[in-house]
Subunit: 335 residues, 2 copies
């Protein structure tokens, strides 16, 4: 039976929220997980939740902290993250979920689970809500210094993700730049523009920063340096807006009542902006699903990440990605 290895020691609310997320996935979605981490702690939580013996626990005494150097995980073979990744590599689990240090998850994703054939650089993408529907931005941090052909690969991965995971019929692909016209942007973008234009993708040209949130593109590609900065700036801007609003509201009693009455609208907005709704961030191009969940993940976010991993398998995402690569990328820009 399909089961996913979950790193129960990674994330701000580990192990409790992680374990509870696995239980939610089992109860609500019928998806099985292998709980990897300090067995006594995990079993104690299972006991409290009345779940003993219903999900497998694999002991891993060590765990990677958020501020450990990401690559150190490759040496720490008793860490929950390394053990969980090894279960995937050995075929005992069909995918990996972790809310631990992103860099460390990327490291085991690339070097323990491994890249699928035909993909030079696995990448991570994130789904942003926009005024129309959603924008998939890729890469948001897995690859810092990129070549033009990597951006083409990201576009193919994004196309496949948008089509088969987000259900967009003919995804509109853009490349993140400044100015709409061909020829605008830095050297990397100008070179990648030509590759994208000559591919079989539904390429719509340069996308500007504003297009991420206003719509018009289903997939926007960029290098992981730019993408990561955008991701973090956007999360923080959202939080800052809410915080500034809170502070303003507190100064005025009528505003406080107003905020109360507006609550349903605010909640709906919050839901749109809530990354937990969309599950974790997948490392795309790994040989099996690897889902990087936000460090602040609660049980619901973990449940949704497990759901995403399962979608990948049931949809045969990697097979579809190979097909896309074959159809879209000319041989000379393949690895």
């Amino acid at each position: 039976m399909t089961a996913f290895a979950v790193d129960c020691m990674g994330g701000d609310f580990a192990p409790r929220e992680i374990v509870k997320g696995c239980l939610l996935a089992w109860e609500e979605l019928g998806i099985k997980t292998i709980l990897v981490g300090q067995a006594p702690k995990i079993e104690e939580i299972l006991r409290q939740e009345g779940f003993v013996g219903r999900l497998e626990v694999v002991d891993a005494p060590d765990s990677i902290a958020m501020n450990d150097p990401p690559l150190s995980v490759l040496r720490r073979k008793e860490s929950s993250l390394f053990v969980a990744a090894s279960l995937v590599k050995e075929g005992k689990a069909q995918g990996l979920i972790s809310a631990g240090s992103t860099g460390a998850v990327l490291a085991v994703g690339k070097f323990v689970v491994g890249a699928m054939e035909g993909v030079e650089r696995p990448a991570i993408g994130v789904v942003f809500p926009n005024l129309e529907s959603r924008t998939f931005l890729i890469d948001v941090g897995a690859n810092i210094d990129c070549k033009a052909r990597h951006l083409l690969h990201f576009a193919v991965i994004g196309h496949t993700y948008s089509k088969f995971i987000l259900g967009v019929e003919n995804p509109r692909i853009g490349i993140l730049s400044i100015g709409e016209e061909e020829g605008k942007g830095n050297e990397l973008v100008r070179e990648a523009y030509t590759l994208l234009k000559n591919s079989q993708l539904n390429f719509k040209g340069n996308a500007e920063g504003r297009d991420i949130f206003s719509g018009g593109f289903d997939v926007i590609v960029c290098d992981g340096f730019v993408g990561n900065i955008i991701l973090k700036a956007s999360e923080s801007l959202g939080l800052a807006v809410v915080e500034m609003l809170k502070r303003s509201v507190k100064k005025n009693f009528l505003s406080l009542i107003g905020a109360f009455l507006m609550k349903p609208a605010l909640m709906e907005l919050r839901k749109k902006a809530d990354f937990t709704e969309y599950g974790g961030i997948p490392l795309l191009g790994a040989i099996r699903p690897v889902i990087i969940t936000h460090g602040k993940a609660n049980a619901k976010a973990i449940r949704n990440s497990i759901k995403v991993a399962n979608q990948f398998l049931t949809l045969g995402f990697n097979e579809k990605l190979i097909k896309s690569l074959n159809e879209i990328c000319p041989q000379e820009v393949r690895n």
Copy 2:
């Protein structure tokens, strides 16, 4: 007497809002401007406002459209933008303000007004509100492909701006990257990190995307490609949040009442996020103040841009910048 040349034909609401902005600057701040553009149109507005003969008008029959190639302004010598820049170059005006095409304003700023001695690449910065106070991000679009020493120059410009325009005693300088630790980031950032560390700046290391809005840095430097994408993404995210909130509110009557009661708080937030409050974006390092105002500028934004240009002069910003460059930049990274 000091007077600033204002391009009255640039911007979405030109010429009316631009002319009215000049009148506000004169009435409210006592700052004189020279109104450059199609004289009949400008004089008609002055008549309507009861201001005939109180501000000088210089005729320029041509005007640059938003979608004209930016560099074309250098050939179109009868355009309002070129004529206004020439007035500055000839010393008839002490600075330039335009809400026209950013690329075109950058072009006349660099090639007609010209760069000051010691600055290789004039840059544009923008002030973002953050939870503590404000973050000055530089460069946000004037220089696409940069060398490490350019980022050092931007840092010195940002330091000077933060200290003398924003009133920060000892500005905390950061370099935009992914991850806080030294060694994180792309090649450009890693190289610039060393230059910044060895300078006399109050350098606080790498800043992440989130630091723009959460505070902790007074100045954050980046290349103009990354900065421009951040700027546009942030503006658009802010608008998208407000739009999504509006749509949610309309679905529910109590929310509508709530929104009404929250108005003062929302207005305060809006004011914080309102770029018109901060005036335009200065091209820093030009021989005289060049202020690039948002295309959607209304009279108030123009007034504030004129105010900013005037501040530059009265504070002797360029003299202070030369002093900073001499103190902070080792000779080998000067131009």
